[in-house]
C-alpha cells in the first residue's frame, strides 16, 4: 500500500529534464518555419515577438511572415537576410525543457554547426520532400556523427507539396538510413512533416495514416536520453580548489568540479592524475549538504581521505579505469579561423577539460572532404571550415579518452596564442 502510494506520487511529481538539440538547414528547407511552429504550438512564442516579425516582414514586402526573423536577431542578419551565427531558443512542455541551437546550414557555416552539435543530445536534420537528400543533408549527418550526437531525427518536410506520398517519404527515409548506417549514427528516426501546416509536428497527422511513428514533438519529449551519459568511466576534472580562509570553517580542502562521466561515491578508491597517487573519497559536498553519489552533469566538491597535492587540471578517476596520459595526440580537428590556416609546425594553446597546454602540430595526415568523405592525403593545411586528421605534441600530458567513448574528456579547443581567438575544435582519436 505504502509502496504504491510512493510510486504514484513519484510519477506525478516527475521533474522535467533537459534536452539540447541542434538544427541545421536553410530557410529553403523550412527550418525556421519548423522552429517557429514548435515554439508557437508549445506557447513559447510570444505575441509581441510575433507582431514584431510580422511588422518587419510586411515592411520588407515579404509575401509571408518570415519566421526566420525570430532567430536572425542581428542587424547584419536582418539586412542581408542570412543567418550568421548560432542562435539559442528555448521551449518547454510539461515533460521536458528544450534548448535549440539553431545553426545555419551552408558549408561556409560548418563551424557554427560543429559548435551547435558539440553540446547536442540530438540533431534535427531537415530535407525538402520534393528534393530528397542533397549534399547538405549528407554533410549535416556526417558532422553529427563526427561530433557523436547520440540521436538524429530526419524531418522530411513539405510533405503537403508531394501529396503526403508514402512512396516519396520511404524512398528518402531508406536512402538516408543506408547512408547513416555507414556513419554509425547511433539512433535515427525519420518523421514526415509539414512544418507550414503543422502535420506531425505536435500531434499525428490524419493526412498520413500510413505513418505509424510518433509526431516530432512526441518523439522529442519521450526520447530516452538518460543513458546517453557515460556512467561507467569515473572522470572528475578538478576545476578549482576550495579552501575557506575562515575561522568558522577550518581544515576544509575540497576539489570543485563537474562530473564528466561515471558515478562517484564516498568510500570509493580513486586515483589522481597525473601524479598517480591513490586515495579514497572522504565526502562529496554541495552547498545543500553532502550527497551519497555524484554523476554527470552534477557540479560538486570532492574531499579526499589523504592530503595530496591536487590542483586545477588534475583528474580524479579509478585506479583500474583511467584516461590515457599522453603528449602525442591524434585528433580530428575542425578549423574555425578565417585569418590563418592550420599548418604543420604551427604552435597553439589547447584547452582540454580544465587543463591548458601548448601544442605543436606535428603532422596533417589528411584533409576530409565533408561532402564526399574523400581523404586528401596530399593536403598541407586546413582552412576555415575544413576538417582533417592531425598529430599533435603537447607541452604537458593530456588526460584524455577517445572522443567516441567520452565527449567530455575527448574534446578540446585550439586557441591562437597571439589573438586569443578559438581557432579549432579537436576530437581525440587515440591517445598514447
Amino acid at each position: 500500500m505504502t509502496a504504491t502510494l510512493t510510486e504514484g506520487r513519484a510519477a506525478e511529481s516527475r521533474p522535467m529534464d533537459l534536452l539540447r538539440f541542434a538544427t541545421a538547414g536553410s530557410v529553403d528547407d523550412g527550418k525556421s518555419t519548423l522552429i517557429g511552429r514548435l515554439l508557437y504550438d508549445t506557447k513559447s512564442l510570444f505575441t509581441d515577438q510575433l507582431e514584431a516579425v510580422e511588422a518587419v516582414s510586411a515592411a520588407r514586402g515579404d509575401e509571408y511572415t518570415n519566421l526566420a526573423l525570430l532567430t536572425d536577431g542581428l542587424r547584419a542578419e536582418r539586412e542581408q537576410g542570412i543567418t550568421i551565427d548560432v542562435a539559442y531558443r528555448y521551449f518547454a512542455t510539461p515533460r521536458r525543457k528544450f534548448i535549440i541551437a539553431d545553426t545555419p546550414g551552408h558549408i561556409q557555416y560548418t563551424r557554427n554547426m560543429v559548435t551547435g552539435a558539440s553540446t547536442a543530445d540530438l540533431a534535427l536534420i531537415l530535407v525538402d520532400a520534393r528534393k530528397g537528400l542533397v549534399e547538405q543533408s549528407r554533410r549535416h549527418a556526417f558532422l553529427c556523427s563526427l561530433l557523436r550526437v547520440p540521436h538524429i531525427v530526419l524531418c522530411v518536410n513539405k510533405m503537403d507539396l508531394v501529396d503526403y506520398s508514402q512512396e516519396v517519404f520511404e524512398r528518402i527515409a531508406d536512402e538516408f538510413t543506408s547512408f547513416a548506417a555507414k556513419l554509425e549514427a547511433p539512433d535515427l528516426a525519420v518523421v514526415p512533416v509539414s512544418a507550414l501546416l503543422g502535420d506531425n509536428i505536435v500531434s499525428r497527422s490524419e493526412k498520413m495514416p500510413w505513418y505509424e511513428g510518433p509526431s516530432l514533438l512526441h518523439h522529442l519529449e519521450h526520447l530516452h536520453i538518460a543513458s546517453d551519459r557515460n556512467l561507467v568511466d569515473v572522470r572528475f576534472p578538478v576545476q578549482y580548489v576550495i579552501r575557506p580562509q575562515s575561522t568558522t570553517v577550518t581544515d576544509f580542502r575540497g576539489y570543485a568540479g563537474q562530473v564528466a562521466s561515471g558515478v562517484l561515491k564516498p568510500g570509493d578508491e580513486v586515483m589522481v592524475l597525473p601524479s598517480g597517487f591513490t586515495t579514497r573519497i572522504a565526502a562529496i559536498e554541495t552547498a545543500d549538504g553532502p550527497v551519497a553519489e555524484a554523476f554527470p552533469p552534477m557540479s560538486v566538491t570532492v574531499r579526499l581521505a589523504d592530503e595530496l597535492d591536487v590542483s586545477r587540471g588534475d583528474m580524479i578517476c579509478r585506479p583500474n579505469n583511467a584516461p590515457s596520459t599522453a603528449q602525442d595526440i591524434e585528433a580530428m580537428i575542425c578549423w574555425m579561423d578565417e585569418t590563418a590556416p592550420l599548418r604543420t609546425g604551427g604552435k597553439y594553446a589547447i584547452k582540454h577539460t580544465t587543463r591548458s597546454a601548448r601544442a605543436i602540430v606535428r603532422g596533417l595526415q589528411y584533409r576530409l572532404d565533408v561532402n564526399t568523405l574523400h581523404r586528401d592525403e596530399g593536403a598541407t593545411e586546413l582552412g576555415l571550415n575544413e576538417i582533417g586528421r592531425v598529430r599533435l605534441r603537447t607541452t604537458v600530458p593530456l588526460l584524455a579518452d577517445g572522443y567516441r567513448r567520452n565527449r567530455s574528456t575527448g574534446g578540446f579547443i585550439v586557441i591562437d596564442e597571439s589573438t586569443n581567438r578559438t581557432v579549432g575544435a579537436g576530437m581525440v582519436l587515440e591517445a598514447g
Binding site: 509581441d48 558539440s118 530516452h224
Partner: protein
C-alpha cells in the same frame, strides 16, 4: 528504461544550476579580477545565490557591482544592501549621478539614463581593473542576446562584435584576453524567465516586494504602466490612477513599466508567467522599444 538510468535522473533545474556553477568556478579559476553585477533584480539575485553555492563553504570570492542610474526603486536598493551585508561582500557602486556631476557623461534631454550608464560601467571596469563581469542576462530575453556567448569577449573599449565572436564548444570556455580587454560572463544564458521563477521557489529566495502584486499610482503610456515617482515625468494628458500591479523586471525606475497583476506569491507569479503571451522585456522595457536592434546597438557600445 534501465534501473540505473532512472536513478541518475537530473531535473532541468539541477542541470541548469550545475552548468551555472561550473561557469562561475571556471571564471574564478582562470580570470584575475571578476565582479558580479548585482542590481537587486531577480536574475542577479539568482546569480548571487549560484555564486554562494559554487564556492561554499568558502565565501563568494569576488565583489559585486551596481551600476546605479540614480533612478531607483527604494525597496530594491534596500534589498541590495541587506543581501550584500548578509553575505559579507564588498559592494562597488558605479554611480551615474556622480558621473554626471564629474562631467564623464551628460544628462540626456529626455532625462533617461539607460544609454549613459554604459560609459559609467566602462569607467568602473577600468578603475577597478575588472577583467570578468558576471551579468544576469539570459538568451531568451532578447534576440541579440540569443546569439551571445556564455563567455563574451569585449575589446578595450568594452565593445561587443557580434560577427566576430569566439566559437563556444562543449563546456570549454575561452576566457583569454589581453590587458584592458575583458570578458562578460552570463551564467544564466540558458535559463528562461520561468526557470528563474521555479528556482526562486525551490531555493526559497527572497525578492524585493515590487515583484509581487501591490497597489501603485501609475500612468499609461504606449500601452505600458509607468509608476508615478520623482524620476518619471508625466506628460500633458496623462492622468495618474491606482492599479494593482507588479514588476516583471527591475531596471531604471523611469524606464521600467509594471504589469497588471494579482500575483502576490511566488506560486501565483509562476502561474502568471507560464500563462503570459508577452515577453518580459516587451511588456516592461521602454528602452528596448527604440528600434528593432536597440539591444544590439547598446551592447556594441559596451552595455551589459
Amino acid at each position: 528504461m534501465s534501473q540505473a538510468a532512472a536513478a541518475y535522473r537530473v531535473s532541468h533545474l539541477d542541470a541548469l544550476e550545475a552548468e551555472s556553477i561550473f561557469v562561475m568556478r571556471e571564471v574564478v579559476a582562470e580570470l584575475e579580477r571578476p565582479v558580479l553585477l548585482f542590481s537587486g533584480g531577480k536574475d542577479s539575485i539568482v546569480m548571487l545565490r549560484l555564486a554562494e553555492k559554487a564556492f561554499a563553504p568558502a565565501r563568494v570570492p569576488f565583489p559585486v557591482m551596481h551600476v546605479d542610474t540614480g533612478h531607483n526603486f527604494p525597496e530594491v536598493l534596500a534589498f541590495r544592501d541587506a543581501r550584500v551585508a548578509e553575505l559579507g561582500l564588498q559592494l562597488v557602486v558605479a554611480s551615474v549621478p556622480e558621473a554626471i556631476e564629474s562631467g564623464l557623461v551628460r544628462e540626456l534631454t529626455d532625462g533617461t539614463r539607460n544609454r549613459i550608464q554604459t560609459p559609467v560601467l566602462l569607467a568602473a571596469i577600468e578603475k577597478y581593473r575588472f577583467d570578468a563581469l558576471f551579468g544576469g542576462a539570459r538568451r531568451d530575453e532578447e534576440k541579440a542576446r540569443a546569439k551571445e556567448r556564455v563567455f563574451s569577449f569585449r575589446d578595450e573599449f568594452g565593445q561587443w562584435d557580434p560577427k566576430n565572436q569566439r566559437p563556444e564548444l562543449w563546456a570549454l570556455y575561452n576566457g583569454r584576453h589581453h590587458p584592458g580587454e575583458s570578458i562578460r560572463v552570463f551564467p544564466l544564458s540558458n535559463w528562461t524567465e520561468l526557470d528563474v521563477w521555479h528556482y526562486i521557489a525551490r531555493e526559497r529566495l527572497e525578492l524585493p516586494s515590487i515583484y509581487f502584486a501591490h497597489d501603485r499610482e501609475v500612468v499609461e503610456r504606449d500601452g505600458m504602466l509607468y509608476a508615478v515617482n520623482e524620476f518619471f515625468r508625466t506628460r500633458p494628458g496623462e492622468t495618474p490612477f491606482t492599479a494593482r500591479v507588479r514588476y516583471r523586471t527591475v531596471g531604471d525606475a523611469s524606464q521600467t513599466a509594471a504589469v497588471r497583476s494579482d500575483a502576490d506569491t511566488v506560486a501565483t507569479v509562476i502561474e502568471e508567467v507560464a500563462a503570459t503571451r508577452i515577453t518580459e522585456r516587451g511588456a516592461t522595457r521602454g528602452d528596448d522599444r527604440v528600434s528593432e536592434a536597440a539591444m544590439e546597438d547598446r551592447k556594441r557600445e559596451g552595455y551589459f
